[in-house]
Amino acid sequence: MSFLGAFPVLRLGQKRDSAPSVGFLSEHWCAPQQALAPARDLARAASAVLVVGPHVTLDEKAAALWVPPDCLGKDVPLGFLARSHVTGLFVGNVATLIPARCLDDASALPHARLTFPYRVGALYGNATPESAFEHGFRSCSNTSAEVKETQNRQALAASLGPDVLNGVWWCLGALHALRNDLSLTEAWNRHEPLLDTPNDVPKVLGPEARATRLATGIPVQALSPAQSRALKAMLSPWPDGLFWDRFAADAAGLDATFQGYGTSMQRAARRIWPDLPPLEEDRNGLD
């Protein structure tokens, strides 16, 4: 039986950062730079370990997610998604189930080679203005397809958030990343003086959004808290269709076991995502 809860959780970061994980075999903490040895020990004792990134809180239902045993036996690190507390969008690279053998000779924690389109938790990172700015910046500067898929998706990733604590700081960081005009440090240094006049922070959002639109053509918007809250309330509980098709594409690149699983996921995704093209086998049905 391969419920996610059957594995130990290794959480990267400081224990005070987050609520405890419920329903898992055990929970351990360590600094991200020192994670390899404890991950290896935990995985050897339980065949795999779930490594959870900093600022991620696991859902209560995450432990009830099921991992196909024949996928686990292939020694492939398996990733899961989280929902950003700030933007409401789904993000990857937040939790990875790493089989023990993947850690035997590893010099660093391996990245997921296949990410399930299932949510295991929420990503925060907005506890302070600086942290929010940095996370916003990184969320839009990394070239992963989660945010680079379309301009409107990128726009949402840099516009949503002003309804939560330090969300405007997050958006400012994200806008700079989209513009690609300054390094993270330079961008932060430019806005840091606003810490002394917090009421002015929302006022700079409009001009920064306008500058980003002009520089990139990405239709980012400066939203009020109420507007951000309403738009986030519209977001689907399901990860976008692209996550499902990417799962299938990555699975096809592994082996036949994964490929079969990927095709089943693709088919299921078409029940909820109307823009996904029909599968080849459906297009060429027999008369």
């Binding site: 196909p68 239709p219 809250r229 738009l231 309330a233 089943s264 109307p274």
Partner: protein, 435 residues
């Protein structure tokens, strides 16, 4: 697992079925009809038939074939419709097959303006809207009651049409008003049934009441949507059935709405109407404020650019897509309204399970327990039941307990009793005779 359900492959093309275009009072109807003829030169048309039930009967008469596809006047087919194929197993005379449509004003993908493949029997047997009994509230095509237990709406994957009701102020307003008053009525009905998940309906209401300012006549849709929700929530002696009374709606529009908004500098070339856009916007905003005081449904006033960003991101899934997946699977499993087709049932339950529907996992397990599939696997069934149980399924613990008893796991009697108790706690406690 990589255990895939058997694939039902035989299919037919949707383009093999005749198309009937239905229009009533839409000033753009002739233009849209010409456009449809480009894609389907053989299409037929019914026009001006009063009553939503009556016009479908008229469409059935016009088609005069066992099955036909209806297209509403405000719906435009997309070229992808040409490639749509239908598994033959779905072609039951008791099934109406629906392909949802995307609303161009707010991006919602729903049954509003959907393409519908009817059988003659269902179209002629329907008694909804104006044909429903006086003491019933009939706001949608009630296919399920035509042959209870057999007839049903089947939601098909994909979106191959767009619906644009906002081509005159009147039609834009009416579309918004009817949709949200219906959704709000549905929401209240669901809230009265404990255990119903209303999150999706609330989400759709947020969209209808927030997005649209980027669209032509979008403010009229928003005004209708917010007023429809307001009416359903606050108006005394309000009877939602009047929203399907064409005469009532026309009077409501002429006597109440037009005079309230007043004339002004904005002009609709299709209808020839002019109106005061500032007054309209002020009414939209005021209704939003008032609704926020009485409802916990987030909504906001957006500039057109923000509305466009959200609408064009295409982030909305098909509405109520999973609602009837298990029921359809059981129909194929038990031959209700169609032939018994275990492969199709297995496919549907498998899809539901992958989308984390606990009932899908439980139903799939039952196919194996009952040895209905080609290669039944009892250990696989047990695994599925444990997964369903972990996701909160009420039935799975009980089925698992029975499964363990049947397997002779008497040493586990304590766990068996615990599982039966768990099912009971979750609301499923069949009598001994049932089990």
């Amino acid at each position: 697992m990589a255990r895939r359900a058997a694939q039902p492959t035989a299919s037919v093309a949707l383009s093999d079925f005749p198309v009937v275009y239905m229009s009533y009072d839409e000033p753009w109807a002739d233009e849209a009809w010409e456009e449809l003829l480009v894609l389907r030169p053989d299409a037929k048309r019914v026009h001006g038939v009063k009553g939503l039930n009556a016009c479908h009967v008229a469409a059935a008469q016009a088609a005069d074939t066992p099955r036909f596809l209806t297209v509403d006047a405000d719906t435009r087919l997309l070229p992808s419709v040409i490639d749509v194929r239908i598994p033959k197993a779905y072609l039951s005379p008791n099934f109406r097959l629906d392909w949802q449509s995307r609303n161009v004003v707010n991006g919602v993908v729903s049954g509003n303006g959907s393409l519908k493949l009817w059988s003659q029997g269902l179209a002629r047997g329907m008694r909804s809207h104006e044909a429903a009994a006086d003491d019933t509230v009939s706001l949608d095509a009630d296919i399920g009651s035509i042959k209870p237990g057999s007839s049903r709406i089947v939601l098909m994957p994909g979106c191959h049409s767009e619906t644009d009701p906002a081509r005159t102020p009147f039609h834009a307003f009416r579309a918004g008003f009817r949709e949200t008053s219906f959704l709000a009525w549905l929401l209240r009905d669901m809230e009265m049934r404990s255990g119903s998940n209303t999150a999706e309906l609330q989400q759709i209401l947020t969209i209808w009441c927030t997005l649209g300012t980027q669209a032509r006549l979008g403010d009229w849709v928003l005004y209708g949507a917010r007023l429809g929700l307001w009416a359903e929530q606050t108006w005394q002696d309000w009877d939602i059935r009047v929203t399907h009374d064409y005469d009532w709606f026309q009077r409501f529009w002429e006597e109440t709405i037009r005079s309230r908004i007043g004339r002004g500098g904005s002009f609709c070339p299709v209808s020839g109407m002019d109106w005061n856009a500032d007054r309209l916007r002020a009414e939209v905003v005021a209704l939003g404020t008032a609704l926020s005081d009485v409802l916990d449904i987030p909504m906001a006033d957006l500039p057109p650019e923000a509305s466009r960003m959200m609408t064009e991101a295409r982030g909305f899934p098909a509405m109520r897509a999973l609602e009837n997946l298990d029921a359809l699977g059981r129909a194929f499993q038990k031959g209700r309204g169609t032939s018994i087709d275990i492969a199709t049932a297995e496919q549907l339950f498998s899809d539901a399970g992958l989308l984390l529907r606990p009932s899908g996992l439980s139903n799939l397990a039952r196919l194996h327990q009952l040895e209905l599939v080609d290669a039944p696997d009892q250990s696989y069934a047990e695994m599925l039941l444990r997964r369903a149980m972990a996701l909160g399924c009420a039935f799975a613990p009980h089925h698992l307990a029975m499964h363990m008893r049947k397997a002779g796991k008497t040493a586990d009697e304590e766990e068996i009793l615990r599982l039966i108790d768990l099912s009971a706690e979750r609301g499923f406690a069949p009598s001994d005779a049932d089990t």
